[in-house]
């Protein structure tokens, strides 16, 4: 089975791109399942079900979604193997732009959209910088110039990635993406012992552990203060 990890900011078009890509994979008789990771809520699983795609969803709730991803990915892979899928796609929303769920030697795709503003590539960390393929969406509603500027900003933070423009509504470009995703050679049985491409933040503070009160007396662990300069009395 192939494993492909999709990631990207909320509402960038991940689900539309994955659905259109699955259409193209199905034409080649490749069976695909999806596991959707989100934080509090998602109804994307309904969209996949409607399209006849086997789907599971995992809500991380109080946990950081990327930590949740790392703790569950092996079980998810075994689920996909149990269904005899040719390809398993995981989809997760990057929420604070700090981390990424990419795993070494497993294809990682980042989906970002032209509408998010030209400084967005700068603001996104490993989710964009460590991706193998960057898919840029919503190119049909911004000017050619903005598309070019956006793509050049993407390529300066991740020059190694293949950058593609895909229209999530018409699917223009999705067939091309599908041809880059499936790899006969890269079959996996398990992800046990594999490594994340980029470490997640290691520290905990009292608020991570459920503290709600504000004030120095309640702050423990990894606490850092802003530098407000000299005017701060």
């Amino acid at each position: 089975m192939n494993l492909v990890v999709f990631s990207g900011p909320p509402s960038s078009g991940k689900t539309s791109i994955i659905l259109k890509t699955i259409d193209a994979l199905k034409q080649r008789n490749i069976s695909v399942g999806v596991v959707k990771f989100d934080c509090l809520y998602t109804d994307d699983d309904v969209l996949y079900e409607k399209a006849g795609v086997p789907v599971k969803k995992g809500l991380s709730g109080a946990l950081c979604p990327d930590h949740f991803f790392a703790s569950n990915i092996e079980e998810v892979v075994q689920w996909g193997k149990g269904l005899n899928l040719d390809m398993l796609i995981t989809e997760s929303a990057g929420l604070c732009n700090r981390c990424s769920p990419y795993i070494k030697d497993i294809k990682g795709v980042c989906v970002i959209d032209n509408l998010s503003g030209i400084n967005t590539p700068k603001k996104i960390g490993p989710m964009l910088k460590a991706a193998d393929i960057v898919v840029i969406t919503k190119g049909d509603i911004v000017s050619q110039a903005e598309r070019e500027v956006f793509a050049s900003k993407v390529s300066s933070v991740n020059p190694r990635a293949i950058t593609m423009h895909i229209n999530g509504l018409t699917g223009q470009g999705a067939y091309e993406l599908s041809s880059l995703l499936y790899d006969e050679e890269n079959q996996i049985e398990s992800v046990q012992g594999r490594e994340l491409r980029f470490p997640m933040p290691s520290a905990l503070c009292s608020y991570c552990l459920g503290e709600t009160r504000i004030g120095e007396a309640y702050q423990m662990g990894n606490v850092r203060k802003m530098d407000l300069g000299d005017d701060y009395a």
Binding site: D140, I141, Q144, E148, P159, Y175, F198
Partner: protein
């Protein structure tokens, strides 16, 4: 590269500055150090805080410089001369109704067919330089040869630029700042000159003039379209321009197309508007996912086009009069400076109005 100091990298490849900027790396004061030494100056805490991937950044710098070198090299080449489409099949596997279509630069081809007939697929085939490896089985040649894969994978050398009705400016900048940004991303040397050229061209197309200090988001539909077309013609690196309809309002469509042709673009235009369709040298008829046939614009059609254009100019004149508070009627005078318009309107207007 690993042994070069940051200062000497910048001296040899001035564009590397952009890489440091976009990656939020403040290299000031480290000009005499290597990039690795600079990266090693970050504390462990900073590495975690800023999510710094030292190996990645180092490898990417080398990749970035390679990419930009090729990109600059490509710019110096004379650009592509022609695009050839070899037939595949439609959705029902019937072979397409043409032998070979070669489109040269400065040529305009229109694409007609109902929504969902396969226009997007045709464009995608061109953009991906299909090699009998897409659902239509089409093959795309550039200058008569199998194209370089750079057209597929490079983000700075896209084969196709697109202009469509739905496009808007979303960025919050003035026209000048916007064009500056675009020119910088294309590594243009004469930024001022290029901006001047674009604004002049855009104002020739737009019904209402605008200046460089106007925010792009407050341009009217026609002005936006004019700026997008002028910018695509002059500043975009893509040799092929795909247009999805140009609305007949606030913009001189004939001049817009002429501008693209003058800048040696290959123009493909999806349209349902007879005036636009007939301006093209040929039109591609799409049906059931395939190219059904290719029709050359006939002399009779060209005659019809002249008539259509007269009507267009007449309506444009009315629009202008309306805007400036004049009475509309059969005596509506068109204050279009264009000789062509005046010549054509002479003696024809009464016929149209009556």
């Amino acid at each position: 590269m690993h042994k070069m100091t940051i200062g000497s990298i910048l001296e040899k490849y001035p564009f590397a500055e952009g890489y440091f900027q976009e990656n939020e790396l403040d290299i000031r004061g480290y000009e005499d150090k290597t990039f690795r030494e600079y990266l090693d100056s970050f504390s462990e805490e900073e590495v975690e805080d800023f999510a710094i991937d030292k190996d990645g950044l180092e490898a990417n710098l080398i990749e970035y410089i390679q990419l930009m070198k090729t990109f600059l090299g490509v710019e110096e080449e004379s650009g592509i001369q022609s695009l050839t489409i070899l037939p595949g099949h439609d959705k029902s596997n019937n072979p397409e109704g043409f032998k070979e279509l070669t489109i040269h630069k400065s040529e305009i081809i229109s694409i007609v067919g109902p929504t969902g007939s396969g226009k997007s697929r045709l464009l995608a085939d061109i953009e991906w330089t299909a090699q009998n490896d897409t659902p239509t089985g089409r093959t795309i040649l550039i200058d008569g040869k199998t194209p370089d894969t750079k057209w597929r994978f490079s983000s700075n050398n896209r084969l196709v630029a697109q202009l469509s009705q739905n496009m808007n400016f979303v960025i919050d900048l003035t026209v000048r700042e916007f064009l500056e940004l675009h020119a910088q991303s294309r590594l243009v040397e004469d930024v001022e000159g290029t901006i001047g050229k674009i604004i002049e061209a855009a104002n020739k197309l737009a019904g209402e003039k605008f200046d460089l200090e106007t925010p792009v988001t407050s341009l009217s539909g026609g002005q936006s379209r004019a700026l997008m077309i002028a910018d695509t013609a002059i500043l975009s690196s893509s040799p092929i321009v795909l247009i999805d309809e140009i609305e007949n309002a606030g913009i001189d469509r004939r001049k817009a197309l002429n501008l693209l042709v003058d800048e040696e673009k290959i123009v493909l235009m999806a349209t349902h508007d007879p005036t636009l369709a007939l301006i093209a040298d040929k039109r591609i008829i799409i049906k059931n996912g395939g190219i059904h046939k290719i029709i050359e614009t006939s002399p009779e059609e060209r005659e019809l086009l002249t008539k259509l254009e007269e009507i267009d100019y007449f309506v444009q004149g009315l629009r202008e009069d309306l805007r400036y508070g004049k009475q509309l009627g059969k005596n509506s005078k068109i204050e279009h400076k264009d000789d062509f318009t005046l010549r054509k309107l002479d003696g024809i207007l009464p016929n149209i109005v009556n």
